[in-house]
């Protein structure tokens, strides 16, 4: 892989006086210890929210989709807003594990495991909306091209909603495989440390008999690289396909060619914000500050700042081209966003997505944990509203003024959404107590180049002999 020499200007990624064993112990501690009261409280709240979501979904399926606030004009509202929002959040995980791997970003090693977990859990949430926003969800299997007794009645491959089925299911399965492959050495570590026969058995099964031979490692790395190479186009194409749901239509405000890359940028933006939210808490409660450092948070903030700026450029481009097009429907769609009945959601979106990431230009702000945490929440609110604005404001007023209407969500809409948030946290909380939340094997691989201990050693050594070229061959 990359060279062992690291420039002195690079700051350490593992701080404190840590050796290999310390990494193992620190990563294993939350799994091997017992849950405290706060964990149980958080878990109880999440579970309650989840159960409320289950009730809302049951009510929807039982009584029909009319229990939602959607109407004949606004056929998609919170359901698809939440779907796109969750898929978007899921993108940062793959981005961190795949794209940052391709770009050899060593800082990803402390955060990739949790980011991938976040991907998988949020894609699970997302996947529920396409099923339960159907009028007849029990016929959902019809979207699959399965030979059948209707003279082999087939699906139409021209619909982006069908592409969604393939995109999301492929995305979930590839992410899961990618995540699990990376977990093998870490589960093996937990297996080897297990004291009770039960945990021994569980982690033996989970680790697939990983023994860490040279050949295994060589193949492991190759597989990771290939999967990263596949996951990168996948991550781009999944959110692109989600954007096609809108962009292929002829609705003013939806039909615009910038949507594919702009949705992807928005996904990275909101996904990194979610990773930041989760990791800022996790580093504290699981005592992982030595691995998830301020530098990690700062770098994630920089990614948020960059993708936020890209999203900002896309907003301005859409506005400009709406004017430039000379198409009055297009122009009205944007006028309606800015000054129509949902003006507040548009301006909330603009404030949260365009202005808030710009504060990250100040080093003081992007290295402040409190501010980063607040901004990370603000961004996710903003990105929810971005999807809401795109979907609802384009639908509620389009070509025929006689079809103009408003949208008002019901408690069932809200219940389903809150339920998915609850479910997400149920999964994430369980994960954080049973999985190694930091890829210890990977973190150990950068120990000698990027840990504070070794950096000091290198510096001391370089002081002894002034030859630079010698220095590089440690």
């Amino acid at each position: 892989m990359s060279s062992h020499y690291e420039a002195p200007i690079r700051k350490p990624l593992i701080i404190g006086d840590k050796n290999y064993h310390d990494v193992t112990v620190d990563v294993a501690r939350p799994v091997e210890g017992r849950a405290n009261k706060q964990w149980w409280i958080a878990f109880a709240i999440s579970l309650t929210a989840f159960l409320w979501g289950v009730a809302s979904v049951a009510y929807t399926v039982g009584h029909g989709i009319g229990t939602w606030g959607s109407n004949k004009t606004v056929g998609w509202a919170w359901d698809i807003t939440n779907f796109v929002w969750w898929v978007g959040i899921g993108h940062a995980g793959t981005l961190i594990s795949a794209v940052l791997l391709l770009f050899r970003q060593k800082w990803r090693m402390a955060i990739n495991r949790s980011a991938e977990a976040m991907t998988i859990f949020s894609v699970v949430q997302a996947a529920m909306f396409p099923v339960f926003h159907m009028g007849r969800p029990w016929l959902a299997f019809y979207v699959m091209p399965i030979p059948n007794q209707y003279g082999s009645l087939w699906v139409n491959f021209n619909s982006p909603l069908l592409w969604d089925v393939f995109a999301i299911s492929t995305y979930l399965s590839v992410s899961l495989v990618f995540w699990w492959t990376g977990l093998l050495p870490d589960f093996a570590m937990l297996r080897d440390r297990a004291i009770t026969p039960f945990t021994k058995r569980v982690y033996s099964i989970l680790s697939f008999g990983w023994s860490g031979r040279a050949k295994d490692w060589q193949r492991f790395e190759e597989v990771s690289l290939v999967l990263a190479g596949l996951a990168t186009p996948l991550v781009l194409s999944v959110h692109t396909i989600v954007s096609f749901d809108f962009a292929t239509s002829v609705i003013p405000g939806w039909h615009t060619t910038i949507l594919p890359p702009y949705f992807v940028a928005g996904a990275i933006f909101s996904g990194f914000a979610m990773v930041n939210t989760l990791l800022i808490i996790m580093r504290k409660v699981s005592n992982l500050e030595a691995y998830i450092t301020i530098q990690h948070i700062e770098l994630m903030n920089i990614v948020i700042m960059i993708t936020g700026s890209i999203v900002g450029v896309a907003y301005i481009t859409e506005l400009f081209v709406a004017w430039y097009s000379g198409v009055e429907y297009e122009q009205y769609a944007f006028l309606n966003r800015a000054t129509g009945p949902y003006w507040w959601s548009y301006w909330l979106m603009m404030t949260c997505n365009v202005i808030s990431p710009q504060v990250m230009w100040f080093k003081k702000i992007r290295t402040s944990i409190t501010v980063s945490f607040v901004i990370s929440l603000v961004v996710n609110v903003g990105m929810w509203f971005e999807r809401f604005v795109i979907i609802v404001t384009s639908l509620h007023r389009d070509y025929l003024p006689s079809s103009w209407t408003m949208f008002q969500p019901t408690w069932v809409d809200a219940g389903f959404y809150i339920g998915t948030i609850g479910f997400f946290f149920v999964l994430f909380l369980l994960y954080s107590r049973s999985f190694p939340v930091i890829a210890q094997a990977e973190v150990k691989s950068i120990m000698k180049t990027s840990s504070e201990t070794y950096k000091k050693l290198h510096a001391a050594h370089a002081h002894d002999d002034h030859s630079h070229s010698e220095h590089n061959h440690h």
Binding site: S2, T248, T257, P261, Y324
Partner: protein
């Protein structure tokens, strides 16, 4: 220090001279009057050579007849489109809003009345929408005769545009390559990349062309505003006077503002290039990292400026040749095209310099990384190309799909051929790790990629300016040769000015020992 080999210098001069001859020849043979154009059309019909141009000419006649029948629905929308393709224009009315159609048909009727009885006047080709309306009123007998004139006028203007458009495409292409390299350089600086500092001087050498490229492109833009050529039809007051849609855009598309924007954008890019080069050289002699830190900040600031100005400049310089058409993705699509070309150019020049024994610390790992970027950004370009194309194809909204319909019907081979050159070949060639380390493979892929992206720019400019009168002849090849010669001359001259290895960059040691 690098010394410009006299062979390469001679080669660059030969290219420039040959190129200038080709360009001169194409200007010389372009029709000067309408009668010249008619003679050319006659000749084409008689000899039946140039199968495509010939066939299309017939096609075009047929479409004209069709268009005339539909003339009630015709409106100003057709001005540009009809220049290149009448049939599409006939369908275009479906898409425009009801109010607009009403307004526009009113305009057409008004102009048509005004124009009635002005037969024999030397109509400007751009007033065609009015003709269409006029034809409908005048009846079909007059139409046939009139249509031939009409067609000749199209062809006349397209043929007059041809040498200019050829020069413009090549000038823009080489200028944007150096801009793409500048963007890559800024990204490498801002990202604190550890592998690329040994290539910084090569990149700085390539961006040496920026100021020359900018000057030439700017001169061509000024010439457009001064009506010396007609690449941008919205610069013609005659056209604007008859074109409802362009009138709505004059707040943005007007000569002075257009030139001010061009000067500001080019000025900003050139300033960053000058400033970062200065800092890069200062860092060599410094005892601290102050210049390096300044360069880091400058790179970040430039990238912000760049993302905004790059989008707007591609609307200005490329999208506005089709002033009725618009696409929000366009700016990023253009970026991907010249960004990959820029990276490819870095790889090719690095390989050349390495083969001459100049880049001591560059190894196959550096080439491998460049090749990965060539591969990755080629795929990214395809992603954007496909997104833009597929979304318009899928929704099939007449006013925007004309853009692709025109290209598929009249530029079929270049349009789909470039997808093979820019996507299929690079992906197949560069997916193999071992291949990415072989000079000849990277060179081969590089030549394919550069050819493909030249054709990409060709496809963006030509259909709007020369329509179905395109062919790659002396003018096009000459312009490419001329700018290639100039590019080589300027870039390699810049490379001789400073040592090829940045000395005190804090990441240079990482880069020297980079191994992947």
């Amino acid at each position: 220090m690098y010394t410009f080999s006299s062979k390469l210098k001679t080669f660059a001069f030969v290219l420039m001279v040959l190129g200038a001859l080709g360009v001169g020849y194409s200007f010389f043979t372009a029709p000067k009057t309408l009668d010249d154009a008619k003679a050319i059309i006659e000749a084409e019909h008689a000899h039946g050579h140039g199968a495509e141009a010939h066939g299309d000419a017939h096609h075009d006649d047929a479409h004209h007849a069709e268009a005339a029948h539909d003339a009630h629905a015709e409106h100003a929308e057709t001005v540009v489109v009809e220049k290149t393709e009448a049939e599409v224009a006939a369908t275009a009315h479906d898409s425009v809003g009801a109010a607009e159609i009403k307004a526009e048909t009113d305009t057409v009727h008004a102009t048509a009345t005004a124009e009635a009885g002005h037969e024999g006047h030397d109509h400007d080709a751009h007033a065609e929408a009015a003709h269409a309306g006029h034809d409908a009123h005048a009846g079909h007998e007059a139409h046939a005769a009139h249509d031939a004139d009409h067609h000749a006028e199209h062809v006349f203007h397209q043929l007059q545009n041809k040498p200019w458009a050829a020069v413009y495409v090549a000038a823009l292409f080489f200028f944007l390559i150096s801009l793409g390299v500048l963007a890559f350089y800024a990204i490498q600086n801002a990202a604190q990349a550890g592998w690329s500092p040994v290539l910084f001087r090569v990149m700085e050498g390539i961006t040496g062309y920026l100021v020359w490229g900018a000057a030439i492109v700017l001169a061509l833009l000024v010439a457009g505003v001064l009506q010396i050529h007609h690449i941008f039809i919205w610069m013609d007051p005659e056209v604007v006077a008859h074109d409802h849609l362009i009138q709505g855009k004059t707040g943005f598309l007007n000569g002075p503002f257009f030139l001010i924007r061009a000067v500001v954008f080019m000025g900003g890019w050139i300033f960053y290039r000058y400033y970062s080069r200065k800092l890069s050289l200062a860092q060599d002699e410094a005892t601290d990292n102050l210049s390096y830190k300044k360069a880091f900040k400058a790179a970040a600031a430039f990238l912000v400026f760049f993302i905004v100005t790059e989008s707007i400049s591609s609307w200005d310089w490329i999208m506005s040749v089709d002033p009725h058409w618009y696409s929000t993705l366009f700016g990023w699509y253009v970026f991907a095209s010249f960004f990959v070309s820029g990276i490819t150019t870095i790889a090719l020049i690095t390989l050349y310099l390495k083969s001459r024994g100049y880049l001591e610390y560059v190894n196959t790992s550096h080439i491998h990384d460049l090749a990965k970027f060539m591969f990755g950004i080629s795929v990214f370009w395809t992603y954007l190309w496909f997104s833009q194309f597929m979304l318009m194809w899928y929704a099939d909204i007449p006013e925007e799909v004309t853009y692709f319909k025109m290209r598929i019907e009249n530029y079929n081979l270049p349009f789909f051929g470039m997808v093979a050159l820019n996507f299929v070949f690079p992906v197949l060639i560069l997916i193999n790790t071992d291949f990415k380390r072989l000079s000849w493979i990277v060179t081969l892929a590089g030549i394919i990629i550069l050819t493909g992206h030249y054709i990409d720019f060709y496809n963006m400019i030509m259909p709007a300016t020369v329509g179905d009168q395109w062919f790659i002849g002396a003018g096009e090849i000459g312009a490419v040769l001329f700018f290639l010669g100039l590019f080589i001359f300027v870039v390699f001259t810049t490379l001789t000015k400073q040592p090829l290895l940045a000395k005190r960059n804090p990441l240079i040691e990482e880069s020297k020992h980079f191994h992947y």
